[in-house]
Amino acid sequence: NLTEKFDTVFKKLRGRGRLSEENIKDALREVRLVLLEADVNFRVVKDFIAAVRDRALGQDVLKSLTPAQQVIKIVREELARLMGEGEANTLDLAARPPVPVMLCGLQGAGKTTTCGKLALSLRRQKRNPLLVPADIYRPAAIEQLKTVGRQINVEVFDSQPGQDPVKICEAARAYAELNGFDTLILDTAGRLHIDSELMQELVRIRDSLEPREILFVADAMTGQDAVNVAESFNQVLDISGVILTKLDGDARGGAALSIRAVTGKPIKLVGMGEKLDALEVFHPDRMAQRILG
């Protein structure tokens, strides 16, 4: 782990007296390797190291009796700050009901399951959500959301594979207004950020429904490509936040840093399992620790 690597780097210095800039640079080289191994994007790592270097070359590190600890502390603080420490990361549901919340992202990221998790969590907060199946492409996608709704006793708007996703969402909104639902959870089909037609479909849903939250759902094990995907979704939709899924695995989750760096948007929630109660609030400092291994 990083502490051990630094101890190796700094052990060579013991007895040689003062720490030099070269020593610090060696330590930062180790940090770079750790971050790349954790799947943080190549360019994001470069920028991060440059940002940390100035603090790391400061007098308090060079004169410190425990330079390894000092550098690690700086790296951890910078990382946590970048991950959004101190930022508000709750869902914004302050609007006239029914408040639309739209989930989007690549194929297989965990959107449909997360819609269910969100619905359960909102119900436990005494809200009355309506699940809306707007994925008309994937075989049995609508059935999947309906099954999820049954499991948690949340109503699912009835849609069919032949219909237009925008019309489905509009009809769901009308249904929600008529029947007293206060939140609309829109499940959209997985799609590639480079599929302009499908990205335009999301724009049309957004323009018509004006969702309070547009949540980009990303798999925690995503690699270098995370920057490309997140940047596209953000540029096209101006996402309001990110949900990171499958954090119950052992992926280091460097994609989280990449996504933050390129979008500046808050990571609000994390998926911690396949069951519908496995949704947690995002903790920037814990994520920083996990990325550093």
Binding site: A109, E143, Q224
Partner: protein, 278 residues
């Protein structure tokens, strides 16, 4: 003056960026660069074009080395178990393989071995319908071992050429779920000696270094002998399969390039490496 080649630092950084952003990982990247330096003379290492060319050849040869075709005739029914973590494209890939082999005149049967996830069997049933093949399924929540058993029985009774067994997505870190996979494998073995003849691990091209760990752990648990790399129609390069070829000797059998029934291609190392550098 020993003539030991060393790629110059600027070129090195450029190559590192290409390989690392393609998800090869630092370790495999360094190994490849070292291999290239070994193959080149001092003056040659200064030629960026030549270095790039030798690097590509090195990658292609490593992939070709582990490449082995899937022999469909090795048993009847040939039993293929499809495994992998959540959401990578297992069920969709089975749909594509059903289409591919049916179009080649093979009798294919599908086993809806995911009895856990909502509407998993329904999803596979639709793919079965599209390919015109039988799908063996139980109710949601049933024992996946029972589905494996029935699917094996049905494949034999119906004289199928190929049985494709779908399994629920699972993280390799969940010991009990990996045990379940081993149990399913034992059931197949008991019912059809030698089964599963092929265990395909499906990997998502957007996954980073964790794919190497997935491959390692699934291989340890259920003797994976081939990979399918999906979602290569996106912008991710899937370079982790070079690391996997290196460290685990596993070949990629097919690549997924879309969500339709025909969006599957046999793996071509040269095409893969060329696309990686584009």
């Amino acid at each position: 003056l020993s003539g030991h080649a060393r790629v110059d630092d600027d070129l090195l950084e450029e190559l590192e960026e290409v390989l690392i952003t393609a998800d090869l990982g630092m370790q495999t990247t360094r190994q490849l660069v070292a291999a290239v330096e070994e193959r080149l003379g001092r003056s040659e290492a200064a030629d960026p074009q030549l270095v790039r060319q030798v690097l590509k050849q090195e990658m292609i040869s490593r992939l070709t080395e582990v490449d082995s075709p899937l022999d469909l005739e090795q048993a009847s029914p040939l039993v293929i178990m499809v495994v992998g973590v959540n959401g990578v494209g297992k069920t969709t890939t089975i749909g594509k393989l059903a289409r591919l082999w049916t179009s080649r005149g093979k009798k294919v049967v599908l086993g809806a071995g995911d009895t856990f996830r909502a509407a998993a069997a329904e999803q596979l049933a639709i793919w079965g319908e599209r390919a015109g093949v039988d799908v063996i399924r139980h109710a949601e929540g049933a024992d996946p071992g029972a589905v494996a058993f029935d699917a094996a029985r049905a494949a034999v009774a119906r004289k199928a050429d190929i049985l494709l067994l779908d399994t629920a997505g699972r993280l390799h870190t969940k010991a009990n779920l990996m045990e379940e996979l081993k149990k399913i494998r034992r059931i197949l073995e008991r019912e059809i000696p030698g089964a599963p003849h092929e265990t395909l691990l499906v990997l998502d091209a957007t996954t980073g270094q964790n794919a190497l760990i997935q491959a390692r752990l699934f291989k340890e648990a259920v003797e994976v002998n081939g990979l399918v790399l999906t979602k290569l129609d996106g912008t991710a390069r899937g370079g982790i399969i070079v690391a996997i070829a290196n460290d685990l000797g596993l070949p990629v059998r097919f690549v997924g390039i879309g969500e339709g029934a025909d969006d599957l291609r046999p793996f071509d190392p040269e095409m893969f490496v060329r696309a990686l550098f584009e």
